[in-house]
Symmetry: C2
Subunit: 185 residues, 2 copies
Amino acid sequence: MALTRQDVLAAAVAILDEYGLADLSMRRLGDALGVRAGALYHHVPNKQTLLAWIADGVLASVPRPAAPWRPGLAAWAADLRAALLAHRDSAELVASARAMGLAENDAAADAAALLGAAGLPAPDAAAAASTLVHFVLGHVVQEQARLEWERFGKPDPDRAPTATQASFTLGVGLILDGIAAHLPR
Amino acid sequence: MALTRQDVLAAAVAILDEYGLADLSMRRLGDALGVRAGALYHHVPNKQTLLAWIADGVLASVPRPAAPWRPGLAAWAADLRAALLAHRDSAELVASARAMGLAENDAAADAAALLGAAGLPAPDAAAAASTLVHFVLGHVVQEQARLEWERFGKPDPDRAPTATQASFTLGVGLILDGIAAHLPR
DNA sequence: ACCTGAACACCGTTCAAGT
DNA sequence: ACCTGAACACCGTTCAAGT
């Protein structure tokens, strides 16, 4: 049977989860599917786009934020972090795809809309939403880099998982407090 | 005359500024210095470390934040952004080096100390400082990716430089307001 | 339409051998 | 000590040729 775009995507995610982004090459992906690397180009325009599709899949798994804005965005930030942590190196993947403008899923748009509905002027709402997204991505990129490092290095004891969780909650709280200060009271 | 570590670093920065991170290869760097790629390994342990040195150089050019904390951190965030914008693709470079734990310069430490002196408990100060750093890096990564894209693509008109500047100021203000809400009053 | 085989133009890194 | 020449083990992508 001929290969499907979905097969390629699924195999790519499997390699990502098991071996990490550095080991996700077109040749290796071809091997996993029993096909030459060149054959993949019948199903995917290029590697960059394939990675963007994976990023979109991760983002699509995040429930949209719901009113009221404050607990809604707190839960959304936690959901986004959880979705990223569910796939190895995916924070870097998503950050790259977003930076290159290849991610279809605009993660910040829903959050900005929620804040707009809560009374924040549009430019502030967009800036606030992207601040939150930058923080979550930056934080999880750091977390996953540490995980990669621990995977075959010394597990440095000075930063426990509880501390990284706590600093995430603190950072989100900080940003939400900043948003609250900008809302009409 | 024999090559110096400083020569290698300077040539690497020159290639980065002129051709971008994607074109900064050991072979190309060797060409620029009139030497084979293999010879570079007498002066640099590996490419990753070379990139980390460049990142540290960029960070070292940022003036340390000074009291009082609020205008001090606002100026510091702007200085950090300016230092990053001064070298092509350097935000991604710094973000990667930091994530891999290779950057000697801990950009957030001074900011955290400043906030500690202002009365913020240590864990909050560290979280606040790293929130600010994540935001600045994330924002400039996005800015520079857009610049790369415009360098040989369509200059999309829907996001002017003034808008990106404004959203930076808004994001920083948001975070500083969040910090203020956490300080003893 | 889908895939193979083979190539093209690259990578980072190592290392014997020369000076 | 520093560098060359050459290799090793890879990359992403293209494309004539087969089915």
